[in-house]
Symmetry: D3
Subunit: 130 residues, 6 copies
């Protein structure tokens, strides 16, 4: 059943939070590639082809690209790719800047919310559109 | 029950189609403001305040703004505003360019699909998020 | 396929609106029992057993019972019964007074919204929970 | 917008009902290919390639194939194909015999329910998985 | 990401269960305020303003108020407030007594169901209405 | 709240995976009956009556019955029974072979996905059809 852990692409530029996300995902059975900027994440995504199963991205990133832009770039390559945004101040922008069938987690949130969000979208993607 | 017909904002630059849309909406009990460009539609939307109940927009428009951009501009003012995109060639871009909780109608579509799409989103907006 | 028109129970105490609702439902292929008060509607509902397929009720009614109360009484007999509320001023009360899996139509609404709301709930009830 | 009417594949072996379905779909803006058996419908479906946009099938058919079997055969070729079942006695079999993301209409139903069911599934298929 | 644990308001009058709920929520990353009666919970909710993120309430409570009534009182202040009901005998009353967009957990249930239920509703509330 | 752990029926014929599933479910608060073939699982299901709350089944099984067939047999007895399929190679068959309102988990998947899938379907079954 569990030959390999599904790999989640994470964009988060605050180091303490990187550790918490990595640990939360590992405990739930996911592997993670954690990058500090949208540019790095897109480079990894394009190189790895189909290996990543979902994106978790902060909205406000240090580089030139916002989380909204990274998600659009990934969806233009893979229209069904699961997207989870994490946001503090920008939560009200989701309705205009988010992509369809994505989830926004408002900070602060519980680790269980992140795990449930990824699982809901992966379970959706594998079949049930509910 | 029906003191006034709900007013739908429509952006469509082909004249024969304008007529069909207007007639379809009128038969279903909706009124419509039909504009030829995104710029005109945004002007009307901003001036009229809360009077429009939904947007139906072609994706490829003659002006500077695409349907994707008009929808984002409207959602940034009203995060719950119902959006229906109409598209021929651009249907595969919805997953990266559309806003959350919108509907895309691929051309050619039946008038009943347009009426159902608007009704589903309005019924959602008035309460049931299902 | 269409041996008999599905029968909708309607509670509406304004006579001109009764006519519009009846005509809208008839054009869509539904039959309707239109009553002026919640008390009358419950009497009919209890007498007819399983013959009604959905309830459409105004929220503010002239009798002792509100539309919220009639819907709860019907759901306590038939937990899957489709409910559509129609409301002008009371739209913001749906989140606290409505029953689960119901739809609220805010006045003014288009006849097509009423037909779509009933059809969505009937199609749900016959199977697809989406 | 409406260069051609979307084509619906219909399997119905009772002649009076064929006429009602054809007229209902035409009024809603759909074209229809109406066949009397599952075998004929599959032949047409396989020959026409991508031209049909949805299937409406009675469950109990005169030929060797049931509506359940025709739907599975079509979905094995096109996993996203919209399916609407029509059924009288067999309604309780949908949970075990239906395919995912399909709709069952229990007889008797209103023409508006058929139109809404097809529109909901087409609108879903073109993007919004809700 | 996780500056503070989201605070869940819990109404449960059996002490052993209070402990299990508190521990389950804490392991998932939520904080909890656990009260023994609906009256106490409403007092806390009204005093704390926007600090609680969701309600988990048993249906049968020792005080004057049932869980159904507490949920309606909270929703009349905050129409989007996530509600999870917990119930043994009263499960069949949800369809008539529950509020829209709530979840009922039938006893006995697994701790993971409680965590998933809260997370689903919070993730919905932060954006995706699916 | 948690008088007894909800019992999940699991069909999995690879022993190492049986252990992982059992442990994952136990940590989430579920009990499990793990069988090696569809035939055994149906025997247990029929004998136990209403005691199982959900089915988790691999699609490719060693016996005569596939996971698709076991799920149909169970749903013909209990139309609301929650079904989760687990599949490696057969993931694309879900759209034609799966039952309505089921979830397919594509291998490899994280344990959290299994827990979320079961919880989503149980929470649905207890009321909210979303």
């Amino acid at each position: 059943m569990l030959d390999a852990a599904p790999l989640i692409l994470v964009i988060e530029d605050e180091y303490p939070i990187q550790g918490i996300v990595e640990e939360t995902l590992a405990e739930a059975g996911f592997a993670s590639d954690i990058l500090s900027s949208g540019e790095e994440a897109l480079t990894i995504f394009r190189r790895n082809g189909k290996h990543h199963r979902a994106l978790v991205t902060d909205v406000n990133l240090k580089g030139r690209l916002s989380g909204w832009e990274v998600a659009r770039a990934i969806r233009s390559k893979d229209p069904d790719f699961p997207i989870v945004y994490v946001s503090g101040a920008a939560a009200d922008q989701w309705a205009s800047q988010g992509v369809p069938n994505s989830i926004l987690l408002e900070k602060p949130f519980a680790p269980a919310q992140l795990v449930t969000a990824i699982s809901q979208l992966l379970n959706l993607g594998s079949g049930q559109h509910t």
